[in-house]
């Protein structure tokens, strides 16, 4: 060991700190050989001794540590803090119940809303599904797979003023290929004695064009036409005619059709 190495361990040596036995032995041998390092070690040991005396003096003089008034102050602070925390906790408890009540109220409102939505939507969707299921190629025109918009169709199906059918419109219906044996307008009084199917979209009609409104025309069709819309047909009465309401748009084209049966 040289003096540089000795300098790195002189503190531990003087303070009797834990160190490797071999290192301690080498340091002792070096201090025996080197006067400067021996004096350095003695100075460090005297310093250690002096510091220990100071430490012992401090411990004796301040055996109690901080004065009792500090403890009293701290205990008073502890009590006030504890009561403040209790109040805060109680506050947080009450606010917890308020939050819980608000959350419960919110859930109830959402539940009611969802229930109403559930009750109304399925009705519409059922009708929609039914119509979509019954959509079949129209006997009048080329079938369109995009035909839907039954709600609009139903909405159009309201009692209207008895329109005076103009020859022009009649010819438009003929042009569309409606094989009507007879045509008549539908009056509200007639409807009371009738059972009708839903309106089935016809061919190219779309929701947008249906919104334009139109006219319902009572026609008679061969029963075989019902099969084209997916309505079950009694084969024994296959040749008979059946009444139907055709919704004719303002452009004179057939939009939808429903089949009518008298109650009696």
């Amino acid at each position: 060991m040289n003096c540089q190495n000795f300098e790195t361990v002189v503190n531990e040596l003087a303070r009797n700190q834990m160190m490797e036995a071999s290192e301690r032995e080498q340091a002792s041998l070096h201090s025996d050989e080197c006067d400067n390092c021996a004096a350095r070690l003695r100075a460090e040991r005297r310093l250690t001794s002096s510091l220990k005396e100071l430490s012992a003096d401090m411990r004796t003089a301040n055996a109690e540590g901080a004065p009792a008034r500090v403890e009293q102050l701290l205990l008073a602070e502890f009590r006030s803090h504890r009561s403040a925390v209790k109040v805060a906790r109680q506050g947080s408890h009450s606010s917890y119940w308020i939050y819980a009540a608000v959350a419960a109220l919110f859930l109830v409102v959402v539940g009611i809303g969802a229930t109403r939505l559930f009750v109304s939507v399925p009705t519409e969707s059922r009708a929609e599904n039914k119509v979509i299921k019954n959509v079949a190629p129209s006997p009048i025109t080329n079938p369109s797979p995009e035909v839907t918009a039954v709600p609009e169709l139903v909405a159009v199906d309201r009692p209207r003023k008895q329109p005076q059918r103009s020859p022009k419109k009649a010819s438009a219906a003929n042009r569309d290929g409606l094989t009507a044996g007879a045509r008549e307008t539908v009056s509200p009084s007639n409807r009371e004695n009738e059972v009708t199917t839903d309106f089935y979209p016809v061919g190219y009609s779309s929701a947008l064009s249906v919104q334009d409104g139109g006219q319902v025309v009572r026609v008679e069709l061969p029963r075989s036409a019902m099969a084209r819309f997916g309505v079950p047909v009694n084969m024994d009465r296959y040749d008979e005619r059946v009444k139907a309401d055709v919704l004719v748009g303002t452009d004179g084209l057939a939009r939808a059709i429903r089949f009518v049966q008298s109650r009696d």
């Binding site: 040289n2 003096c3 540089q4 300098e7 503190n11 303070r15 070096h30 050989e33 080197c34 400067n36 390092c37 004096a39 350095r40 003695r42 100075a43 460090e44 005297r46 310093l47 250690t48 002096s50 510091l51 220990k52 005396e53 100071l54 430490s55 012992a56 003096d57 401090m58 411990r59 004796t60 003089a61 301040n62 055996a63 109690e64 540590g65 901080a66 004065p67 500090v70 403890e71 102050l73 701290l74 205990l75 602070e77 502890f78 009590r79 803090h81 504890r82 925390v85 209790k86």
Partner: protein, 202 residues
């Protein structure tokens, strides 16, 4: 009031958090003396040491959750707060702090010895005290913790938030400065020899 003599730090802290005053009193009584001495040795002022001790335990009251056992011991946590408080106070009061540290009244180690010997020992102790107080803070705190409070390097590093190597090097430097300061008063008077720190590379 319950007694908490044999409870661990964790148990005491849990009890303190739940509002147990006895637990707080037990923890205070077991820790305050060391904190107070550390503060007193660092600043030399009884009043400041009291304030710092009070502040340390106020932090414990107000922020019980601030202590994380995973990051170190409770002792290290408390000494760390004390050290931060001290450095802040010393920084603030640097411009109007008295140059001479307060001399505390109290029983001396020299009591019971002969008058001359008692005077010599008390003078020596006082010289060492002043020398320690005159050290720069970074060296003073290491000397106080390692030599006066007899903490290990690991504990000191935990309090100071630095590496063990830093503690060792600061202690080495601080003690060398103390030897230089005390040479005429204590070390040379004792044996009349001159201490050289020059290296001989033998």
């Amino acid at each position: 009031m319950k007694t908490h003599h044999n409870h661990s730090d964790g148990e005491l802290l849990k009890a303190i958090h739940s509002g147990d005053e006895a637990a707080f009193a037990a923890l205070y009584r077991s820790r305050q003396a060391g904190i107070f001495r550390f503060a007193l040795q660092m600043c030399g002022s009884q009043v400041l040491a009291e304030d710092v001790t009070q502040e340390v335990f106020l932090v414990l009251i107000r922020e019980t959750h601030a202590f994380d056992p995973a990051r170190g011991s409770l002792s290290g946590f408390l000494y760390g707060i004390a050290r931060n408080q001290l450095l802040r106070r010393l920084q603030r009061e640097r411009f109007y702090a008295p140059l001479e540290p307060e001399i505390e009244d109290g029983p001396s180690l020299a009591e019971g010895a002969g008058p001359l010997e008692a005077l010599s020992r008390s003078e020596t102790i006082e010289s060492v005290r002043r020398a320690v107080l005159s050290l720069p803070e970074r060296y003073r705190e290491v000397v106080v913790l390692c030599d006066l409070e007899e903490m290990s390097y690991v504990e000191t590093a935990e309090v100071l938030g630095c590496a063990i190597g830093t503690v060792r090097s600061r202690l080495h430097r601080g003690r060398a400065m103390l030897i230089e300061k005390l040479r005429p008063a204590v070390l040379e008077n004792a044996e009349g020899e001159e201490v050289k720190t020059a290296r001989c590379f033998a």
